[in-house]
C-alpha cells in the first residue's frame, strides 16, 4: 500500500506475477531446532522471507514487577535485520512498527500457550527477520509456534499466519512485497487451526465485508498445508531416528512401569 509511481499489472489471466493462483501460498519450508542454546527454535523460508524464531524459558520473570502470580508472562520481540531488504540499509533498533508487531505476536501466544502452568515466570519469544519480502509477521508467527512447541512448552494449538489482500477486484492470499506495495488492501491474520478462531487480525485498505469473509475462508483452506508443514517439521527429527531402529526388539519405555 506504500508503492509510488505507476502501479504495475499484478495479475494476468488470473495468475500472479510469480505464477501463483489467488489462493496459493508461496513455496515454503520450516526446520525445527536449528539453534543450540535456545529452548526451542525454528527457521522458516516463506517465499523470499527468511526468518529465525527462538524461545527461551519459562524462567523467573524479571524485573519482579513484570511477573504475574497467576500465570507466565509472554515477552516477544520482532525485529528486521538492517540488511533484510533489497532496498536501502535499514536502521537497527526498535521502531513503532516493530514494537506494534511484537505486541500483536505476543498476544497470539498468550492465547496458545498454557500460561497458567507457570505462574511467576516469563517466556521470551524472538522473531528475527533476516530477509523480508512481505508477510513477515504471518511467517514469523508460523515459525514461532514451531519454536515454542519444540521447546516442550505446553500449548492448546499450533497457530499459523497468512495474509489476505485485494489486488484490483481479485481476492488473494499471502501477498509478497510488490503485491503488498500496490494492493488495495492487506489483512494479516493468524488462525488457531484446531478451533478455527482468529488470534491476530489487522487490516489496512479497502474491502467489502463479503470480500473479507471470502479471504478468511481462502486463508483457512491454505492453512491446512501450513499446519501440516509445521507438524512435519516438528516430527521429522523423531521420525528419522524411529525409522532407523524400527526393526529392533522393543526395549523398556518409561510408561511400561505403570
Amino acid at each position: 500500500m506504500s508503492g509510488s509511481g505507476e502501479k504495475p499489472v499484478l495479475i494476468v489471466d488470473g495468475k500472479r506475477l510469480d505464477g501463483r493462483l489467488p489462493g496459493d501460498i508461496r513455496p515454503s519450508r520450516i526446520e525445527a531446532n536449528v539453534l543450540k542454546n535456545a529452548a526451542g527454535s525454528a527457521y522458516i523460508e516463506w517465499g523470499n522471507n527468511k526468518i529465525m524464531a527462538a524461545v527461551y524459558g519459562p524462567s523467573e520473570a524479571l524485573p519482579k514487577h513484570t511477573s504475574n502470580p497467576e500465570r507466565a508472562v509472554i515477552k516477544c520481540r520482532y525485529q528486521m535485520a538492517p540488511f533484510s531488504s533489497l532496498e536501502e540499509h535499514g536502521r537497527s533498533g526498535p521502531n513503532r512498527r516493530s514494537i506494534e508487531i511484537s505486541k500483536v505476536i505476543k498476544e497470539v501466544f498468550e492465547n496458545a500457550i498454557i500460561t497458567e502452568n507457570f505462574p511467576g515466570s516469563e517466556i521470551n519469544i524472538y522473531v528475527e527477520v533476516l530477509q523480508g519480502d512481505g508477510g513477515t509477521r504471518a511467517a514469523g508467527v508460523t515459525a514461532a509456534a514451531v519454536a515454542v512447541a519444540a521447546s516442550g512448552i505446553p500449548m492448546t494449538d499450533l497457530p499459523y499466519g497468512v495474509s489476505i489482500g485485494k489486488i484490483g477486484d481479485q481476492i488473494v492470499i499471502d501477498l509478497n512485497k510488490i503485491e503488498d506495495n500496490y494492493s488495495d488492501a492487506d489483512v494479516p491474520i493468524v488462525i488457531s487451526p484446531r478451533t478455527g478462531r482468529i488470534l491476530l487480525l489487522q487490516m489496512d485498505g479497502d474491502m467489502t465485508k463479503d470480500e473479507i469473509n471470502r479471504g478468511i475462508r481462502m486463508a483457512a483452506d491454505a492453512g491446512k498445508m501450513i499446519s501440516k508443514m509445521q507438524s512435519d517439521a516438528l516430527k521429522k527429527q523423531y521420525m528419522e531416528i524411529s525409522e532407523k531402529y524400527k526393526n529392533e526388539a522393543p526395549s523398556y519405555t518409561p510408561q511400561a512401569q505403570k
Binding site: 519459562p58 492448546t156 494449538d157 531402529y245
Partner: protein, 199 residues
Amino acid sequence: MQRIVVPGEKLEDKPLRIDEAFTEDGKTYSTIMSVYDEERKVLTPLEGMWYPRMGDQVVGVVAEDKLSVYFIDLNSPYKGLIFAKDCNDDLMAGDIIEASVKELDKTKTAILTRPRKLFGGKILYVNPAKIPRILGKGNTMIRQLTQLTQSSITVGLNGLVWIKGGKVDLATEAIVTIQQEAHTAGLTNRIKALLETGK
C-alpha cells in the same frame, strides 16, 4: 499403535483423562510434543521441563550467595533455595550441588535439603523428559553406565547430570545417544554395545 503428536493434535474423539492432554467439546488433545500410545492411552513427552516436586533428587548450580541463603539454578522455571544453616560446605556461585526437594513455598521456589557439594567434573543438561530413560528400569541403565565407564555419575531428576572421572567422554556420548534415541526400540542393547566397544 504409537504415534508422534504435536500440541493441539487430537488423541481421541472422546473425553479422556490423560496426563499432558486436555479435553474440549468432548474430544481429547495433546498439549506437547509426545508419543501417544493408542492402546494404553498414555502420552510420553518427547520434550519437557521439570517442575519442583517434593522428594525429588536434583542437581543444581549455585547462582547467588546471599549470606543466609543460596539460590540454586535448577534448569527449571523455578529456582531452588538452600538455607546456609542446612549446609556444611561453604558454597560460591558456580559450585555444583546435589540435594533433594524438601518443600515448595508459595512462589513455587524449591526449598532444598541435605545439600552435598560435588567437586570438579562437568554437567550435562539433559532434556528432563529423558531422565527416566537414563536411569532405566530399576536404575539398570545408569548402573551399566557407571560400571562400564568407571565415572562417578549423579543424575538429577531436573535434567542435570554430573560426571566426574573415568571415561568422561564415553559417558557423555552414551548420555547424548540416550537423549536422542529415547523413543526408539533396542536402545538398551545399543548403549551396551557402545560402552563395551568404546575407548
